[in-house]
Symmetry: C2
Subunit: 313 residues, 2 copies
Amino acid sequence: MKPYAFGIDIGGTTVKCGFFKNDGTFVEKWEIPTRTENAGGMILPDIADAILGKLREHGVGLGDVEGVGIGVPGPVLDDGVVDGCVNLGWGVFNVAEKLSGLLDGVPVKAANDANVAALGEQWRGGGKGFKNVVMVTLGTGVGGGIIVGGKILGGGHGAAGEIGHMQMRKNETAVCGCGKKGCLEQYASATGIVRMSKLALANEKKETSLRRLTEITSKDIFDAAKTGDAVALNLVDTLGEMLGSALAHITAVVDPDVIVVGGGVSKAGQILLDAIEKYYRPAAFHACRDTDFKLAVLGNDAGMYGAVRLVLD
Amino acid sequence: MKPYAFGIDIGGTTVKCGFFKNDGTFVEKWEIPTRTENAGGMILPDIADAILGKLREHGVGLGDVEGVGIGVPGPVLDDGVVDGCVNLGWGVFNVAEKLSGLLDGVPVKAANDANVAALGEQWRGGGKGFKNVVMVTLGTGVGGGIIVGGKILGGGHGAAGEIGHMQMRKNETAVCGCGKKGCLEQYASATGIVRMSKLALANEKKETSLRRLTEITSKDIFDAAKTGDAVALNLVDTLGEMLGSALAHITAVVDPDVIVVGGGVSKAGQILLDAIEKYYRPAAFHACRDTDFKLAVLGNDAGMYGAVRLVLD
């Protein structure tokens, strides 16, 4: 194996770039802006320039690079074809082939960003030591990634692990961004729990410290819950109910060794896991009832780790 | 590759034995009884005898056998260890290793019976031509198998695809065989729809042809539904709602190319698929909304096909 590799995580505003040794440790990490103008046509050339510049800086030639892995915020088929990325302005094309062409044919592999984050956590993070991992990312939305035997489960349309749109409540009246009603991310994301808090404050008379805030964040809700605030505890409980029930479905399908919970909301820590497990364990298939929950540990680096793992496997 | 192989499907009352050419066509198939006495200690010796006898009959030596695949009615780990089979009286042991020992070291691979049936349908049945298949088997219970990239997804505890115990109704009062309430198989199996029919006949005043039967089967219910019987149509609709909703969850997790529906209940045909799709499509994640449904075609042979595929891959 050649001595170096890159793990690139493309986001809607910045591209996280990781220059790695082939043992999976960082040489250096940095960010460049994601230029989405002109249908995102500059994104891959910008990445290629960044990689070539970094190599020059370190006096390393392209011939010493094992490959480049990239995580993309959209569905990616197994052959590297991106099936449209709204956030980047991208249509349908082979992102791996295109970037490889800009790098003198260095091997490039691409996968969905939530899936590479899951692979990163399985390889070097909360799921380390386990081959079969379900990762849930609780951020603005709810993302997911399924790792089976140490590999990403991509799916027939690049949509495996899209658990944020599992329909958990049929009697919901609010509409999800996807057009359906009652999706998991309407309850279990940062946005979701804040949305629920507004409804609770409007409909309930109970005193709560949340009423004193002008703008409520998911962190405020978990902080209030930790002090025993009943309204906040109830919101955390609903999040736990929705996510715990969804995870019981998910483990009945893929039966992982471990479940890793990441994303901004996961900074709440044990109180979050407790709320999820309260509903997960009684609903889970008996063989999966004792499956462990772990917090993600790599934070924003998970995508770079997972991306580089695509080419260091 | 050697010219012959065996695909063995162990059931609670009979063992289905398939003697195959290495192109996956049958030389012959036959059955032997499953002797569950003495903690199932005779089952593997009986299978070894059956295989050796069949080889003698055809004048073929063990040296011409590529391998033996077996499907087992219980959880099987990737290394061939069976994690207990209540129906067979088996505890925990390596079934692949044990049978191989009885056959002079011929390679043996083992997997769960629902999973090998799914593999059979993916290889030679309703899912032929697709690499990523979700199969649901609607029989006495609801079984499932997930095929990813042409391989069985076994899971960390051999429990992947155990979709019959996804909890679909939280307000159910009837208890499932597994001890939980509201499991998919309480509605979507042959037993489940008959159970629901009894409740409907007891609680509803509506006239229905089902009232004239002394013992109702799931076939009776589908036959009545096909003639327009409102009570029967309602039962089929509930089955479709439960299974369609569950499949929307399942495809959000593994995103198959195609969904194959098999088992005795699937003989109802298009009316069953229509009932499932009515609830599946609006609940599914958009990338999976148009995923095709197919009926299984191999019937009771699916397990033998899938078992032999384990060693002919």
